[in-house]
Symmetry: C2
Subunit: 215 residues, 2 copies
Amino acid sequence: MAANGLAMKQRRLTPKGRATRDRIVAVAAQLMFEHGVAGTSLGDVQKAAGVGASQLYHYFGDKQALIRAVIAYRTEAVLGTVRPQLGRLDSLEALRAWRDLLVDTQRHRHCEGGCPLGSLVAELAEDFPECRADLAGGFDQWEAAIRDGLEAMYHRGDLRRKADPGRLAVALLAAVEGGSLLTQLHRDTAPLETALDEVLDRIEDLRPRRAQSRQ
Amino acid sequence: MAANGLAMKQRRLTPKGRATRDRIVAVAAQLMFEHGVAGTSLGDVQKAAGVGASQLYHYFGDKQALIRAVIAYRTEAVLGTVRPQLGRLDSLEALRAWRDLLVDTQRHRHCEGGCPLGSLVAELAEDFPECRADLAGGFDQWEAAIRDGLEAMYHRGDLRRKADPGRLAVALLAAVEGGSLLTQLHRDTAPLETALDEVLDRIEDLRPRRAQSRQ
């Protein structure tokens, strides 16, 4: 397995080597976010990271290996938005806080670049099957984290029997991706806010009637 | 205005010239859909369309002009899904038929390539401001067509006062885009179906109670 091979190689790196490798990945991720994967050459990455061609080859072998490292890096970053520091997404309050975090992140970036993970899909999915598989795996983990919280709400009785946590998780993730694309296009966070809020309002409407009347 | 200049030039083309130009655009759109914009050279387009470099230059001047023609072509195609043959999207039946059309189209393409208009965004939005403006204009028209049908439902009393047609239109468009991206990633129409159905179910829940109890 290539992924296992990579993991084994990473374990063999010295702390300094590890730091260099991480820096190259972060620099490459930023360049690919700004100029696309095709618009980022290995020469660009070398220059921006201040490393030589032989170092780049030592850590990654070829461009596809570097792209896959960038996908792993971006996957970690999006999973960071659905992890402990925010608590599980298992209440409407937590879901709305997550929504605010996503919107603030876009605002911070002046709505440029779209979703750092999703924007890689259009460019890589068709011509790089291994990258598509990596991206699908990243999105699967993201979806699972969202579903996990909704399932907790469901089993606790905070969602009606007819609610389907798995379907709502897909709808939320699609709202993140489609909303981010429209936000990038219009340089305005409003579409992302609206897309997420409409799905969150649906989730709110799926609470048991007693919970709704309590408000 | 560049767009007006282009329109004027198109009016001056002979029917044969017009046909050649249209063929080049269709070929370029397909290549860019399959391999991305950066992955499609003018040489690739010449070869696939069977035209020479001077012909390509005659019709488009440079690659950006060709890309903008492809955006206009893709915009026409997506607007074709929300036009007369399906009727306005002014009933749940019409909205569900439109949803089926989008899903069937993806199935037909084996879930490859994502949304033909949206997949251009990630690659063009940051480095080509004019292309971003064209894409934003295309999406604006698409959104307006969706909103138009929802507003007709609203004014007819088929949606409750608290429903907001403009917000629902954005949520539907985001579901199309995010759902198409997940469908491309997973090579499965299920995410697109789920994303659209969750928003359509929300719209259904926003009908007046008398309409819901009639079922």
